[in-house]
Symmetry: C2
Subunit: 224 residues, 2 copies
């Protein structure tokens, strides 16, 4: 019974997409999974800590906090299950999380150690190619975004800044950033940024507080 | 004799890094490689054409041409062997080259079809993990670049634009872009961009012509 539940949960994640029934039943029977239950407001991983396992949110809601390299601004995002915490950081040069993740509700996680993941990659072609495709798709998404036009006005530049500085360019975000810094990032004056953000607030797109820009739905900007 | 040469050539590429002597000799003996010799000024791949093989430049020099999504500006880069043409595009959502590549001197290439590559990934753990690490490293590099400060003046913003709009942020580049468009990209006036680029020309960092910015060594900017 527990195995059947696990089977259904795993199939919600891109890593297991398209696996044959027989294969996933075998996987469930022979893989050492970790299971984690956490209350709200618990830190799951800290930014800069080693990324040595796949952590999958199977129930609940979590928040990420990502800081700029100089720690002068940061972005909070919200994710609901199913969500995998930075699977791109388990390989590569810097095998560390770049964001902090904490629970915003009671949450359930399934974890797979890197060692166990390597066994799965070895054993199941689907998992191997899902992983390769997932990483390649991330590179391609970032490449494509770079070569899009930046727009001709301050609002477009603010939107480019917001949509590039997050893990997923949709959903609820809170940017902790001073107007001065945002003005530097988009190469304009503090006054101009303030004027534009206030217009966006009047249009109901953002809510402003000192050092904080709250955005209920970032995807709304994409169609502007 | 030919196999020994091939063996040494392959070991120059990240994909085969760290392979055991025994494994690479087996690989050389059993893999169907393609070999290509081209004169100067031949197109090797066109942007948007399907990426269904690994193409490795083993001798000579090639140029890439990458255009913006709206085709309003483009960047030329130069690469010497050993160089692999966009190995990130053989997997993922968009299995197409995003740049055009052509020879600038007489050049030799080794090619491996995707089908053959999948056999190698399956057979040799080192190749599988080299590929996963290579793709993950590309994602991490792009993520890191995003979160660096953009600087507080027009020159920093121009440099961020230049270093983000290329395949490799070092070496010789030619940007085909009008001052107006560059001004839009960095959110300032045409006059301001023109003034800054002329200062950079006086300092010997760039050479300007109508619609063209030539940079002998892009890496010089990184230490500015």
């Amino acid at each position: 019974m527990a195995e059947i539940l696990l089977y259904h949960k795993l199939l919600e994640f891109p890593l297991f997409l398209g696996m044959k029934h027989k294969d996933i039943m075998e996987l469930v029977a022979h893989t050492r999974f970790g299971f984690m239950k956490e209350d709200a407001n618990k830190t799951i991983v800290e930014a800069d800590s080693p990324c040595d396992s796949i952590i999958m949110l199977v129930n609940g809601q979590i928040e990420s906090i990502t800081a700029s390299a100089d720690k002068n601004f940061m972005v909070e995002e919200v994710f609901n299950s199913p969500f995998t915490l930075q699977p791109e950081n388990i390989f590569g040069m810097t095998q560390r999380y770049t964001s902090t993740f904490r629970t915003s509700t009671k949450s359930h996680f399934i974890t797979i150690s890197k060692q166990e993941l390597c066994i799965l990659i070895d054993k199941f072609d689907t998992i191997k190619f899902n992983y390769l495709n997932m990483l390649a798709a991330l590179v391609q998404k970032k490449q494509r975004a770079t070569w899009l036009p930046n727009g001709t006005d301050t609002r477009s530049h603010i939107i480019t800044f917001l949509t590039s500085h997050c893990i997923r360019p949709s959903g609820h975000k809170v940017y902790h950033i001073l107007m001065n810094r945002l003005a530097e990032e988009v190469n304009t004056s503090r006054l101009e940024v303030s004027r534009e953000l206030n217009k966006m607030q009047e249009e109901g797109l953002v809510t402003l507080a000192r050092g904080r820009i709250t955005i209920p739905f970032l995807e709304r900007f994409v169609t502007l």
